[in-house]
């Protein structure tokens, strides 16, 4: 009996020493510009930095998963919010890489910019080993992001009309506070409640901070969330108008769109009505 227990103990020590061996054995690579990532190297990094949330099997069931109010990404399902590919498709290696660089704002996913670019590329390669989708599905083309149209008052007003017409307000609210009539009922693909983005409180989006990022968000949709793709609904120029209007909802973030909008009487009144004065909260935003 003692021998058996000793053997078990030795085996457990050996297992702990080789934790990375828990991972999927298949090999993957990633290609981001001139970088070539390798899953073998990424495995070491994953089991140093990522497993606490994303789990040993990459299914988002890490030891901290139950305590996070936005569940960690399930790499086995391979459904990703931040993509440059059409809805339903896998993201590109560069999309995953950019998520590592940027982090996902308002979630527990931090920026991993402190790692080297090679390390991030290796991590991307390893993340792809968790799902057979990466082997079975053909890589999709990225959506085209045409040149941004000029920011004008007319563009902003047209974007405002689209905001009503496309019923963005149902989730995001008329003032963009994320408090539309449907907001309380929304759930993500994990059946977890999910809150629409509050434009008035934030300056960054989950999938980036630039106008191009915002354009991509509603042209690709955020897979796994109720945010759909509008690629088949609006034309590129209209999409840019919508971008310009959405920027004016971000009253805490100075942007050319907001500045222009505030220069009009109508815009100034709207912005003033959205701005909250008073004691700042811990978030330092309101």
């Amino acid at each position: 009996m003692l021998t058996t227990k000793l053997a078990k103990f030795c085996l457990s020590i050996a297992a702990v020493l080789t934790i990375p061996a828990f991972s999927n054995a298949q090999q993957m690579e990633s290609h981001i510009g001139n970088l070539n990532g390798h899953s073998d190297a990424g495995k070491q990094l994953y089991f140093r930095y990522c497993w606490g949330c994303h789990g040993f099997r990459g299914d988002g069931d890490g030891e901290n998963g139950p305590y996070l109010n936005i569940l960690p990404r399930n790499f086995v399902a391979a459904t990703f919010k931040c993509r440059s590919t059409p809805t339903g498709n896998l993201p590109t290696d560069e999309d995953l890489y950019n998520s590592l660089v940027r982090g996902l704002n308002n979630s527990n996913m931090p920026s991993w910019i402190a790692l080297s670019s090679q390390q991030r590329a290796d991590l991307v390669a390893f993340i792809k080993t968790f799902s057979p989708r990466w082997k079975n599905e053909k890589a999709s083309d990225t959506i085209a992001v045409p040149a941004e149209t000029p920011v004008t008052v007319e563009s902003i007003k047209h974007g405002q009309e689209l905001f009503q017409k496309l019923e963005c307000w149902k989730c995001h609210g008329q003032e963009g506070r994320g408090d539309g009539p449907s907001a309380a009922t929304l759930t993500d693909s994990n059946d977890q409640p999910i809150r629409p983005y509050n434009f008035t409180a934030g300056s960054r989006f989950k999938c980036g901070a630039t106008n191009q990022d915002l354009y991509k968000i509603f042209m690709t949709g955020l897979d796994g969330t109720p945010m759909p793709s509008f690629a088949d609904v609006i034309k590129p120029n209209d999409a840019w108008d919508l971008v310009h209007f959405l920027r004016t909802l971000q009253v805490a973030h100075n942007s050319p769109e907001l500045t222009l909008w505030k220069s009009t009487k109508e815009g100034a009144e709207q912005v003033a009505s959205k701005t909250v004065h008073g004691t700042p909260t811990g978030s330092g935003i309101k």
């Binding site: 910019i113 402190a114 790692l115």
Partner: protein, 496 residues
């Protein structure tokens, strides 16, 4: 089962004891009866690894620490951001109300300390006659206790309070500071006020070694032999009181900091003088292919220290009465604290490189120090006779070579060699009583391993085994011979 129980327990005890002793034996066999010296208590400076942060952000220790307490580049970035992930969820408002940012750390140990030349009474001589003897002791013990409380008060306002005790339970404040992060919306401008660790790339507070002889960086604390540490005490590894302006690039590749510090080596209550010191450091990291992120940097500490006290205070106290009923008094003259004057300068400068070759990392450091001849010879600046003949500024050079091999996030092998060489003694060749040129030179070697049986985001635990040996030239108390001290330590280092 009932009959077998005592036998099983016995075997388990034997097995556990054998396992525990294995680390000791391995080193003891290799090293034999190495001779050593310093009988000072175990290092008690707060060493840092905060499961409180792991609990707050739900990340394993290995994210921020290559092996705790040593920071990874990601952990360094987190620290430089004011203990923030910068994902707009750093403020306490986003934590559960019950979250309390506290961590404690302590290490039960077995250790063996040996010093080859300690002054002891000579049993063959008259009373007061001393000789030198080797003193070796060993046994079970424990280190000091650290209570770390740190985090954010609000977005971009960070804090750190660290009450730390020695192993008798006597507490002091190792760190007390508040930091304003990302001022003007820029990561290049952060201001910290209070008592804090200098922005040393090679952090002594995150040192991997724990033993009496190995638990500190010799270069950070060296002062030439003969200096009066009562009025001038300084250690680059000591936390200092002041204000620090620090900045870094978004990816933390480029860093700088400038500090204005009170010249009292971090002691509370302004006990020494009204002088101020300056510490500056800058570093730049770069990527070297698949090897990882390499970093090089430089630092300089430029200070002044008093050479005498402007005022003294004589106190007469009644200690009893004689047979005639008259008071018997005792007279003591002490300096008035804070009135140290006659400041003279000193400086420490150095270069550091942190080199990563995949699982192996090597830290190299060049160190140079110099103190004013007044400080080196304990001469008050107002001395009517001036400096002694032949007095000169004590100057020295030092080096450090430290390697870590991270077999995986749970096992690290470490090794460090330090040396300090005097290039100029305070009492030079022209002095009436010149010092030997190698007086005070130090060689220090430390090696060992740390094994982390589990890694989680809740608590930290490490099995620690270490051996350290330090030799200092010409400092034995009776015969001025070389003194060698060694430490062997086995411990269970844990934090929660």
């Amino acid at each position: 089962m009932y009959e077998r129980w005592p036998h099983t327990v016995k075997k388990r005890i034997v097995w556990a004891a054998s396992t525990f002793g294995l680390g000791i034996l391995l080193l003891a066999i290799v090293l034999g009866d190495t001779r050593s010296v310093n009988a000072s208590p175990l290092p008690t400076a707060g060493v840092r690894a905060l499961p409180a942060f792991a609990r707050k952000y739900g990340m394993p220790c290995s994210s921020c620490h290559e092996v705790w307490p040593k920071l990874s580049p990601f952990g360094q970035s987190f620290k430089d951001n004011g203990y923030q992930m910068m994902n707009d969820r750093d403020a306490p408002i986003f934590q559960q109300p019950a979250y309390w940012p506290v961590t404690f750390r302590i290490t039960p140990i077995w250790h063996r300390e040996s010093t080859n030349k300690i002054a002891v009474d000579n049993p063959a001589g008259p009373v007061g006659n001393q000789m030198e003897a080797q003193v070796t002791t060993h046994g079970f013990d424990w280190t000091g206790l650290d209570f770390h409380t740190a985090g954010t008060l609000a977005k971009n306002i960070s804090f750190y309070v660290l009450p730390s005790s020695d192993n008798t339970g006597a507490f002091h404040f190792e760190s007390v500071w508040a930091r304003f992060d990302n001022l003007l919306g820029s990561s290049w401008l952060n201001v910290k006020v209070g008592k804090f660790e200098l922005d040393n790339l090679l952090s002594e507070k995150r040192i991997l070694t724990l033993s009496t002889n190995g638990g500190l960086y010799q270069n950070y604390h060296f002062q030439p032999i003969g200096e009066n540490t009562g009025i001038f005490r300084f250690g680059l590894g000591d936390n200092q009181d002041g204000v620090e302006v620090m900045g870094h690039s978004k990816d933390d590749r480029t860093r700088y900091s400038v500090s204005l510090l009170s010249s009292n080596d971090g002691q509370p209550g302004l006990p020494s003088s009204r002088g101020y010191n300056t510490f500056v450091t800058a570093s730049r990291a770069f990527q070297a292919g698949s090897f990882g992120v390499q970093r090089v940097g430089a630092f300089g500490y430029f200070g002044q220290a008093p050479t005498y006290f402007q005022y003294n205070q004589t106190a007469v106290t009644v200690v009893g009465q004689d047979i005639n009923g008259n008071n018997v008094t005792s007279t003591a003259t002490n300096p008035v604290l804070g009135t140290g004057v006659g400041n003279k300068g000193f400086y420490r400068v150095g270069f550091i490189g942190m080199w990563y070759v995949k699982k192996l990392d090597v830290t190299t450091m060049y160190f140079h120090g110099s103190d004013s001849a007044f400080l080196g010879t304990n001469t008050p600046a107002n001395s009517p006779t001036g400096l002694p003949i032949g007095a000169q500024a004590p100057t020295w050079n030092g080096g450090l070579f430290e390697t870590h091999y991270n077999l995986n996030p749970q096992l690290v092998l470490f090794n460090r060699y330090e040396l300090i060489r005097m290039s100029q003694q305070a009492f030079g060749p022209n002095s009436a009583n010149p010092s030997p040129s190698n007086l005070g030179n130090i060689d220090a070697l430390t090696f060992g391993y740390r094994y982390y049986p589990f890694i989680s985001s809740r608590a930290g635990f490490a099995f620690h085994n270490e051996f350290a040996v330090v030799r200092q030239r010409g400092v034995s108390p009776v015969n001025s011979l070389d003194v060698t001290g060694s430490s062997l330590l086995v411990g269970f280092d844990f934090a929660f």
